[in-house]
């Protein structure tokens, strides 16, 4: 997996210049997203304390779960007594999309195979995954780049949660200033970065419509899986083996 060069001077340095520059390339790639997601972490921490979690509990959730969407859904379900089984199941449902992401990234990311990769995949998020998918279009994904992206993003999420929870109710309602929309705006940007013409438009229309319909009809977080599968299904249905290969 690792590309250990057998040069004379190599005392299998974990901090070889190449790995370092790959790590920092990852850091600079994720940097703008830190500013975008810090308010979301603040919002999460604030809402969590309003739901009765302590700052430690809110911060631990961000550290152990590290999946914003499902954490907000968990807060939605938070009650006394704590319905921990439903929370666990809905966490799985909201995050089933990560299975699809793993299926998509897996074959393109040879560096992430093996036990080290299992730890790496724990740090997979919508945002970082979108960056990895863009990276593999031009260059193979290295382990150093992977963690250059994942490490600051993780620390940022945990830290922003703690700050939000610490300030708690002292922070004015973030939704009042439209900050709750940051998450949707961020995803919209990421969607547009995958635009490849009319085909993408069809995928988006099918996925968005299915998600909305299922969300209205089926309780819980099934709409994410439904929309994702419908969009992917439409792409598979429209696949024409005789058409010239589209630029990826």
């Amino acid at each position: 997996m690792s590309t250990n060069t057998h040069s004379a001077s190599a005392h299998h340095a974990p901090h070889s210049p190449e790995k370092q520059s790959e790590f920092f390339l990852g850091v600079t790639t994720i940097l703008p997203l830190l500013f975008a997601t810090f308010p979301i972490g603040l919002l999460f921490g604030t809402l969590a304390t309003q739901k009765g979690l302590s700052a430690l509990e809110a911060t631990l959730m961000s550290a152990m779960v590290f999946a914003g969407g499902s954490q907000f859904v968990a807060l939605d379900l938070w009650a006394h007594p704590l319905p921990w089984v439903s929370i666990m199941v809905s966490t799985l449902l909201v995050n089933l999309r990560l299975v699809l992401m793993g299926m998509s990234l897996g074959p393109k990311a040879a560096a992430l195979r093996g036990p080290k990769g299992m730890i790496a995949y724990f740090f997979l998020t919508d945002e970082s995954w979108a960056l990895y998918e863009r990276r593999v279009l031009t260059k193979p994904l290295s382990f150093s780049f992977y963690f250059g992206v994942a490490t600051p993003f993780y620390l940022n999420w945990v830290a922003s949660t703690f700050v939000g929870a610490f300030l708690g109710s002292q922070v004015a309602d973030p939704a009042k200033w439209g900050l709750d929309f940051a998450f949707t705006a961020l995803f919209t940007y990421l969607i547009m970065s995958f635009w490849r013409g009319k085909r993408t438009g069809i995928t988006l229309a099918v996925s968005g419509l299915s998600a909305v319909v299922v969300q209205q009809l089926v309780p819980g977080a099934w709409y994410i899986m439904a929309g994702a599968l419908a969009g992917m299904g439409s792409a598979a249905a429209l696949y024409d083996p005789n058409a010239p290969q589209e630029a990826r």
Binding site: V65, S70, A228, G231, A235
Partner: protein, 107 residues
């Protein structure tokens, strides 16, 4: 420091551990499944459509089924995303939703 800032109840810890298992499982399952699936052109087309399809499904309820302000702000964000950098697009989206909410509240 107030004691409740750092309180931790056992049931919450159990819940967090359950959530950890759920996400760890979801995050690792995909790469395992795909090793045993032969990738045809059609499967590849589906997997290539995965990024936009998934992201769209996540935001669809807010983007299309919450209110006119959110829908308008999403459309505006999508439009500016094609020519402006990430952070600028997000800031414009947040400002847009703030203004649209005010505007639609006044109607």
């Amino acid at each position: 420091m107030s004691p409740e800032l750092f309180s931790l109840s056992p049931i919450v810890l159990l819940c967090l551990f359950g959530m950890f298992l759920s996400t760890f499982f979801a995050r690792n399952l995909g790469q395992f499944i795909i090793r045993f699936v032969r990738i045809s052109g059609r499967t590849e087309a589906a997997l290539q459509a995965a990024p936009p399809a998934i992201l769209m499904a996540v935001i669809a309820p807010v983007a299309f089924a919450t209110g006119p302000a959110e829908t308008a702000a999403t459309a505006l964000t999508a439009l500016v995303s094609t020519r402006l950098p990430l952070l600028v697009s997000i800031i414009l989206g947040v400002i847009a939703v703030f203004c649209f909410r005010l505007a639609f509240a006044m109607l």
